[in-house]
Symmetry: C2
Subunit: 443 residues, 2 copies
């Protein structure tokens, strides 16, 4: 992209708009956006005004909606309205969701009635539901046509968007789909209803993550969205699902890392706003970790009596936290992809209990051996080793169960973050460690 920049700037300076347009038309929408973003504002205006309507619509459709709003405001009102009238309905609805109420009303009044109506309808759906991500542009045909008539029907509709499946509709109800391949390759007099295929559908209020899971599971290119009367309302295509999956996985990773998900791209969010999204979590975790401090305070006489106990505090806390994180990351991810279901809970707990015991014994032996040169006492070694083993087993189980419980309580399982888990485990491990030490060492 950066390679093109000097050439574009030269053409802009020479005002050679024909060559400029020819150059830009070779680029994909995403590349055009990257180009525009690296130009000065006046050059941006020139290029946006130069773009043919269909390309401009594609370009605005591919922008982050806040960016689309800023660029839209650089254009003349007439041009902006022209683009809004022609954009893909789902992308246009996203853009409107980023306008202020006042701006939205202003543009709606200027737009064509049908288009404006469409915006109002789509914006009404919550953005993270099937209705919120569907497009109202889809190809459909009546069931009672022959294949040839169906192709004629499609040709007459003059759709200006790409479609991959054709929906068969009777009295507004969805009967199924027909693949374009079947339309083209079936013998001309075949009735559409003979080559109809069943396809899963989703209700308008289904959560977008669930929709993405369905499309991924069934390896289908699009899924129809229906209302309670089984009438076809829109279609979600797999390319939108890719965005949903990436966004949800980003959110999960940020939550698991222990911060509130950012509402914008990380790169575009300033340091202060990022800190604001992270600080509350850290502060809560800090307050929680004071409990670990209390445990040590409570046992400070014992610690004073045998200062070498302190040597294994970071070792024990670290290991139990790590074992918990390992289990939690697998379970959180399994819940997100749908591989792990609530019905698996006992099977999984049994499995993780076994894993915890296997690893706990191994690590317990290692840490006990390490303790011998520190405090030449077999009992001390046992204290450290046993504390380690118990800590690992508990951490593994907690790392497994809590995400599943969060899911059951309709929280996001990824909220059971690594930091939350290690903070919890600190308290538990310290308490186990000192209790065993006091008992076995008689201090």
């Amino acid at each position: 992209m950066s390679l093109l920049l000097p050439e574009v700037n030269e053409l802009l300076e020479e005002k050679d708009f024909d060559s400029l347009l020819a150059l830009i038309q070779e680029l994909s929408p995403v590349d055009i956006i990257e180009l525009i973003e690296s130009l000065s504002e006046s050059s941006q205006i020139t290029i946006l005004n130069l773009l043919p309507l269909d390309i401009a619509c594609d370009v605005f459709g591919h922008m982050e909606s806040q960016d689309a709003v800023s660029f839209l405001k650089l254009l003349s009102e007439a041009k902006a309205v022209e683009i809004l009238n022609e954009m893909a309905p789902d992308e246009r609805a996203d853009l409107f969701a980023s306008l202020t109420e006042e701006e939205a009303q202003h543009f709606l009044k200027l737009m064509e009635t049908e288009e404006a109506h469409d915006v109002v309808e789509l914006v009404a759906y919550p953005p993270d539901t099937a209705g919120g991500i569907m497009t109202t542009e889809f190809a459909w045909i009546p069931a009672k046509l022959t294949v040839t008539k169906a192709i004629d029907f499609l040709r007459k509709e003059k759709h200006d968007f790409d479609f991959y499946q054709v929906h068969v509709v009777q009295e507004k109800k969805l009967l199924g789909i027909v693949s374009i391949r079947e339309l083209i390759t079936s013998s001309p007099n075949t009735l559409v209803e003979k080559i109809i295929q069943n396809i899963p559908t989703v209700p308008t209020d289904m959560d977008q993550e669930e929709v993405a899971g369905l499309i991924a599971k069934h390896d289908i290119m699009s899924i129809p969205v229906i209302n309670q009367k089984e009438e076809l309302q829109g279609v979600i295509t797999i390319d939108d699902v890719v965005d949903v999956i990436e966004d949800e996985d980003t959110e999960d990773m940020q939550m698991f890392g222990g911060s509130a998900p950012l509402t914008r791209n990380y790169i575009d969010t300033n340091a202060f706003d990022v800190a604001k999204s992270r600080f509350p979590w850290l502060a809560i975790l800090l307050l929680t970790s004071f409990v670990s401090g209390f445990v040590i305070q409570k046992f400070s006489t014992a610690l004073q009596a045998m200062i070498n106990l302190a040597v294994f505090i970071p070792v024990l806390l670290n290991c139990s936290g790590n074992a918990g994180m390992q289990a939690a990351s697998v379970v959180i991810r399994g819940l997100a992809t749908g591989e792990i279901k609530f019905t698996h809970i006992f099977k999984i707990i049994k499995k993780e209990f076994l894993i915890g015991i296997l690893m706990g014994i191994g690590l317990g032996v290692l840490v006990a051996l390490r303790s011998l040169p520190v405090e030449k006492s077999l009992v001390f070694g046992l204290v450290v080793g046993i504390s380690m083993a118990i800590g690992i087993v508990i951490a593994t189980i907690i790392g497994t169960i809590l995400p599943i419980i969060f899911q059951k309580l309709k929280f996001d399982p990824a909220l059971m973050s690594g930091p939350l888990l290690t903070t919890f485990m600190d308290m538990i491990s310290l308490f186990i460690y000192f209790s065993i030490a006091v008992k076995m060492l008689g201090i």
Copy 2:
């Protein structure tokens, strides 16, 4: 699915295979697989033999390849070969990759020559490259045809797979694509070369994660794979990319959680194998955490002199680890989605440095206040507060830089796992804490 089970079992008992087939044909391939998996082996054989060839191919194509191999072995050799001849080339290649060398050779001899040749060609590509995930089934037309002739051309090919774009090819070289919508809606005498569209292509050896990123970035339904002579070798469709994205995100999450990614589904992996994938990491982390133990040993006289220093060990370690995890999770995810690039490194470090300072000061003040009732000393409060602030800043920076360095060294950034980070930070935080304490408190 479980609702169907009694009905299916009844039909199997009554040997009413017509009704059984009618029932199964209504299901999607994934649902058929779930049904088969919940049946006894003899019922599995009955149903697999009952399936029409096209559905059987779909069903085998949707299975995990190890499962596909086991089910294939339940069938007669003739039936198995029939299915292998007709399966989608990319799914067939995956299945062959799970066969032993001997089994593969056996089946290849029985298959049709063209199909067998195709398998050998696809299996040769590493499984995580463009060549390894592409299919060799794609629709193509010559450039010098009219739209009507092009549709005739496609009809004569009698493709038995769904396609969404048609590739325009001249002397084996890819010129671009034409959408099916354009083919259907353009006026009949339009030349194909007039409606050709540019589309990004990928070389056969591109990493699958990079391919997935390109498709997601450009919102395209498929991407052509070309060799060094720019000849079209195959096509990767977006539904395969969804699987790649999910698998890579699962791997990232498991690595970030501090274990080696599992080669199979978690649910299907036994406790011993899971433990085997986790234990080495825990053991390495344990050995590393012994360094933290050394730090405490080194400062044990100071600790003995002021036992209340121990109260803030878990607090400081926990907080710096958490701050590091927050930064690392955002950066690892940003690198995975392509949002963060190596060129951003200085911008990001500056940002995270600022974030670290903001959060460090906030948390430092909180922990200093908490320390006052423990050890009634302003200097002690300063020691704890300053250690906290410095620890947070360092953790934030390390959590940011290390994943980027890992990426630069061609390791997976997610290897910079939460556990590795917290283990590192334990050492650093302890060293800072005790050094400051010894200096400022004169112990």
